[in-house]
Amino acid sequence: MAEMELIKETGDVELLSFRISEQEYSLDIMSVREIRSWTKATPLPHSPSYVRGVINLRGTVLPIIDLSARLGLEKSEQSERDVIIVVHMFDQTVGLLVDAVIDILAVPHNEMQQPPEIGTDTGPAFVNALTLVEGRMIRLLDLASIMPRTEGKAA
C-alpha cells in the first residue's frame, strides 16, 4: 500500500509491457509477481480454450491463461521463447502466457487515456486505458476481466 501512495504522489504508473500477437499491452507492475519461461502445462479437462492448463510453480498449482486466446487475438505460433507473467490479484495467482516481455515503463498518470468507445462492441472491456510511449500505443490490461471465472471460485 505504501508504494501505491508513492505512485500517486509522483504521478507515475509503472507498467510492464509485453507483446501478444504483434500488439503491445501492459500491466500495472504492482500486480506482477514474477516472470518465468514457458514450461509445458497440464491441460484441464472441460476448461475454456484460453486456459492452457496448470504448471508447477515451486510446489503450487498455477493456472495458465493464454492471453492471445483470452483477448480473441489470432493465436501466434507457440514457441519456446514464450514467457509466463505471474500475476496476483483478488487473492488469486495466475500465469499469463505472452509472446515476449518488452520493457518496464513509467507513465505519468495524466498521460493515461480512456479507450474510446467503439460502436456496438459488446465484448468484455479488457483494456482499461491507453497511452503513447515513444510513439507506440500501449494498452493497459484490466486484470479483473481477464481472471478466469470458474465454479467454486466465487470466494
Binding site: 497440464t42 484441464l44 479437462p45 476448461s47 492448463g53 496448470v54 510446489g59 498449482v61 495467482t93 467454486g152
Partner: protein, 691 residues
C-alpha cells in the same frame, strides 16, 4: 510471543482444556457406571467439573458456572458417600455431563444458551443436592476482567482515619503470616504510622519463634473504607487480637514512630532464627510429571505438512533424474538415495503424526448419541468401544462425526430389536452397540456393530423394488441385498424416525466416507447382528494412486476406487446402441467409459479390443470400466488442491506433482461416472447393484 490479547488467548486455551476435562469426565463417569469404586475415579469426575467451573467463572460464563456448581455439589455428595450411586443417579450424571459439554461449546462459540437446555437437568441436580447444598458460596462471584492497571495506591485526599490495634497470636506466625507484610499492605491504602509495644518481648535466648510477644498500634489515614482495611487482615482473622476503630482526630499523632525502623527491628529479630533451621532433605521424587506438551498453531503444522510434501516430491524428482542417467542401482548414489527416500518417508510419517489425534473424543460423542437415542425409544443399550487411542488425522476425525452419528443412531434405532423382541429371541434384554478402531496396513479401520436381528433382507428387497432400484424379479445375493442400503434413494421417509434425523440415508454416509478417501462395507448375519466397516486413510495429505496415461497426459486415479485392471478382449466387449459399450465382467455388465473422451482429450477409439481398463467400483454402487492408454505404476502422491488456485474442474478431485515436476491431475471417478456422456449414472440401478 504474539501481540494478541492475553485474555483471548487464555480463553481459547481454557476451552481446549475444557475438551480435555470433558473427556476425563466422560471416562470417569463410564468407569463409575461400570461399578468402579476407586475413590480416585469420583475425584477425577469431581475435579473435571470443578476446574470447568473455576475457569468459567473467570470468564464470566455465569450459566456455565451455575450449572457446573450444582453438578459439582451432587458429585461432592457422591464423593463423600452421602449420595448413593443408583442407576437413576448415573443417568443424571451422564446427562449433566452432556449438558455441561453443550454449555461449554455454546459458551465457546458465543452462542445464546436457551434456558430449556439446562432447566430440567438443573432442577434434577438441585433436587438430588437438596439439603446437602447448604452453602451458597457462589453468590459472591465477583468477576473482574483482567488487563486492569495495577495501581494500588491511590493517595488522593484521604478522608478516613483508623486506629488499629493488633496483637498476633503464635498461630499467626506458624501460618506463615507476617505482620510486617500486613503493615506494608496497609501502607498502600494511605498514610500509616506504626507503634510497636515490645514490652512483652523476652530476652533473645528465651524467645520462642512460635510465640507472639509484640503488639502494635497503627494509625491509618486513607480514602479507603473500613471494609478495605478489614480485608487486609482477612488471613489473620482469628489468629490475633484485632481492633479497627475510626479515629476522629485527623492530624497524625505526634508521638508515633515511623514504620520502617520498627519493622526492621522486628524482622531482624525473627528472620535469623528461622534461617538457621536445618533444611529438610528434599522429598523423594515419586510419580513422573505429566508428559510435557506444546500447543502449536494448526497453521504451522499444515505448513510443515506442505513442506514435507514438497520434500517427497523433490526426492522423487531427484530419484527419477538419477535413474535417467543410467547409474546402476548398486552405486553409492543409488543406495544413498534409497536412504534419503527412507528418511523422507519417516519425516513425512512423523509430521503426519502431529496432525493425528486419538479418536477417543469422537467415540465419546458417540457414547452420548447412544445414551440419548436409546433413552428416547426405551431400549436398553450397552455401548462398547475399543481402540479409542487409535490416532487419525484431526480433519478426518472432525469429518467423521456426522456419518458416525448417523450410523450409531441407525444401530440403536433399527439395528437392535426392542427389549421384548430380544427376550423373545432368547437374547439378553440389553443390546450391544460396539464401536472400534484399529490401525491396519496404513489405514484406520472403524467398525460399528450391533448384536441385533441383522438386516431384514426380504424387506430391503421389497423396498428396493418399491423404490424402483431393482427389477421385481432380480435375483440378488445376500451381499448385494445388504449393499442396497447404500443405494441413493433407498432411505425413505417412513424409514426416518425423529432420531435418525433428517432423512439422511446411508448413501450420504457413504459419500462422506468416500470424500475422505475411505471405503465402507457391510456384513450382516440374521439373528446376530450387523457390522459396518469403514476403512480410512491415515491422512488427507497423501494418497495411494495409480498413475496412468491418457492422450499423453499422466494422471492419477485413487487406488481405493479401483477394483481391478483388465486388458479387454473381443469377448469382453458388448455393444449397446450406436456408441455405448459394455464390459462383461464375471457375468455382470459394466458401462465402458473412454477416459480420453470423458475428459475431452480425444475422440473415441475405433475399437476397444486390447484396451486397458480400470474397473472402478465405488461404494455407492457406481461401476464403470475406464479406458486408459497405459498404466505407469502405483505410488503415494501428495495431494495439491486445485480448487483454491483455479476452481472446481469436473471429474478432477485434486492435483499432484510427479517426479518429473509436471502436474498430474487426480481424477474423481465418481464424478466422471456420474457426468458420463453415456448417461450411465449411478441411478442406472441394475448395473449399480449387480455384482
Amino acid at each position: 510471543m504474539t501481540s494478541t490479547d492475553p485474555m483471548a488467548e487464555i480463553r481459547a486455551s481454557f476451552f481446549i482444556e475444557c475438551e480435555e476435562l470433558l473427556e476425563s469426565l466422560q471416562d470417569g463417569l463410564e468407569a463409575l457406571g461400570s461399578g468402579d469404586s476407586d475413590p480416585e475415579t469420583i475425584n477425577i469426575v469431581f475435579r473435571a467439573v470443578h476446574s470447568i467451573k473455576g475457569g468459567a467463572g473467570a470468564f464470566g460464563l455465569d450459566q456455565l458456572v451455575e450449572f457446573a456448581h450444582s453438578y459439582e455439589t451432587v458429585l461432592d455428595g457422591v464423593r463423600s458417600g452421602e449420595t448413593e450411586i443408583t442407576p437413576d443417579l448415573m443417568r443424571l450424571l451422564f446427562q449433566s455431563g452432556d449438558i455441561l459439554s453443550d454449555l461449554v461449546r455454546l459458551s465457546r462459540d458465543d452462542e445464546p444458551i436457551e434456558k430449556s437446555l439446562t432447566e430440567a437437568t438443573y432442577a434434577a441436580l438441585k433436587e438430588v443436592a437438596g439439603s446437602s447444598d447448604e452453602e451458597e458460596p457462589e453468590a459472591d462471584i465477583d468477576f473482574q476482567p483482567m488487563g486492569l492497571a495495577f495501581d494500588f495506591a491511590d493517595l488522593a485526599e484521604e478522608k478516613n482515619a483508623f486506629i488499629i490495634t493488633f496483637k498476633p497470636e503464635a498461630e499467626l506466625f506458624t501460618s506463615g503470616n507476617e505482620p510486617l507484610h500486613l503493615f506494608r499492605t496497609l501502607a498502600e491504602l494511605g498514610n500509616i504510622t506504626v507503634t510497636c509495644d515490645a514490652s512483652a518481648l523476652p530476652i533473645i535466648e528465651d524467645m520462642d519463634i512460635a510465640q507472639g510477644y509484640l503488639s502494635w498500634t497503627l494509625r491509618l489515614e486513607t480514602d479507603a473504607e473500613k471494609t478495605a482495611v478489614q480485608e487486609v487482615f482477612e488471613f489473620v482473622e482469628g489468629l490475633c487480637d484485632l481492633k479497627i476503630e475510626d479515629d476522629i482526630d485527623l492530624p497524625a499523632l505526634p508521638d508515633l514512630a515511623p514504620l520502617e525502623p520498627v519493622a526492621e527491628t522486628v524482622s531482624e529479630a525473627i528472620v535469623p532464627l528461622s534461617a538457621t533451621a536445618p533444611s529438610a532433605p528434599a522429598e523423594a521424587k515419586t510419580a513422573a510429571a505429566p508428559k510435557p506438551t506444546v500447543r502449536v498453531d494448526l497453521e504451522r503444522v499444515d505448513r510443515l505438512v506442505n513442506l514435507v510434501g514438497e520434500l517427497v516430491i523433490n526426492q522423487a524428482m531427484l530419484s527419477q533424474s538419477i535413474s535417467d542417467t543410467g547409474i546402476p542401482g548398486s552405486s553409492e548414489i543409488a543406495t544413498g538415495l534409497e536412504e534419503f527416500m527412507r528418511l523422507t518417508r519417516d519425516i513425512q510419517d512423523s509430521v503426519m503424526m502431529i496432525r493425528a489425534q486419538p479418536i477417543k473424543s469422537l467415540f465419546q460423542r458417540m457414547s452420548r448419541i447412544v445414551r440419548e437415542s436409546s433413552a428416547a425409544i426405551g431400549k436398553d443399550v450397552k455401548f462398547v468401544t475399543e481402540g479409542e487411542n487409535t490416532e487419525i488425522d484431526k480433519t478426518v476425525i472432525e469429518r467423521l462425526s456426522d456419518p458416525l452419528t448417523h450410523m450409531i443412531r441407525n444401530a440403536v434405532d433399527h439395528g437392535l430389536e426392542s427389549n421384548a423382541d430380544r427376550v423373545a429371541a432368547g437374547k439378553p434384554e440389553q443390546g450391544i452397540v460396539k464401536l472400534s478402531a484399529i490401525h491396519r496396513s496404513g489405514r484406520v479401520i472403524i467398525e460399528i456393530s450391533d448384536d441385533g436381528a441383522g438386516i431384514n433382507r426380504p424387506k430391503v428387497q421389497q423396498i428396493a423394488i418399491e423404490k424402483g432400484l431393482i427389477a421385481k424379479d432380480t435375483q440378488l445375493s445376500d451381499a448385494e441385498t445388504d449393499n442396497l442400503l447404500f443405494a441413493a434413494g433407498f432411505s425413505t421417509a417412513t424409514e426416518v424416525s425423529n432420531l435418525s434425523g433428517r432423512g439422511v440415508g446411508m448413501d450420504v454416509v457413504r459419500s462422506a466416507i468416500q470424500s475422505l478417501g475411505g471405503r465402507i462395507s457391510i456384513a450382516s448375519t440374521p439373528g446376530s447382528g450387523t457390522t459396518f466397516t469403514i476403512s480410512l486413510p491415515l491422512t488427507l495429505a497423501v494418497m495411494d494412486g495409480m498413475v496412468i496415461n491418457v492422450a499423453d497426459q499422466a494422471m492419477v486415479v485413487p487406488l481405493n476406487s479401483i477394483a481391478e485392471t483388465l486388458a479387454l478382449t473381443q469377448n469382453d466387449i458388448e455393444q449397446l446402441g450406436p456408441n455405448k459399450h459394455l464390459v462383461r465382467n464375471r457375468d455382470t455388465f459394466v458401462p465402458l467409459l473412454d477416459l480420453g473422451v470423458e475428459l475431452g482429450y480425444r475422440h473415441a477409439l475405433p475399437s476397444y479390443e486390447g484396451a486397458v481398463v480400470l474397473l472402478i467400483s465405488q461404494e455407492d454402487g457406481s461401476r464403470a470400466a475406464l479406458v486408459v492408454d497405459t498404466i505407469q505404476d502405483q505410488r503415494q502422491v501428495v495431494i495439491k488442491g486445485l480448487e483454491e488456485s483455479y476452481g472446481r474442474v469436473p471429474g478432477v478431485a485434486a492435483a499432484t506433482i510427479l517426479g518429473d515436476g509436471q502436474i498430474a491431475l487426480i481424477l474423481d471417478p465418481t464424478d466422471i461416472i456420474s457426468n458420463a456422456s453415456l448417461g450411465a449414472a449411478p441411478d442406472d440401478a441394475p448395473f449399480a447393484i449387480a455384482g
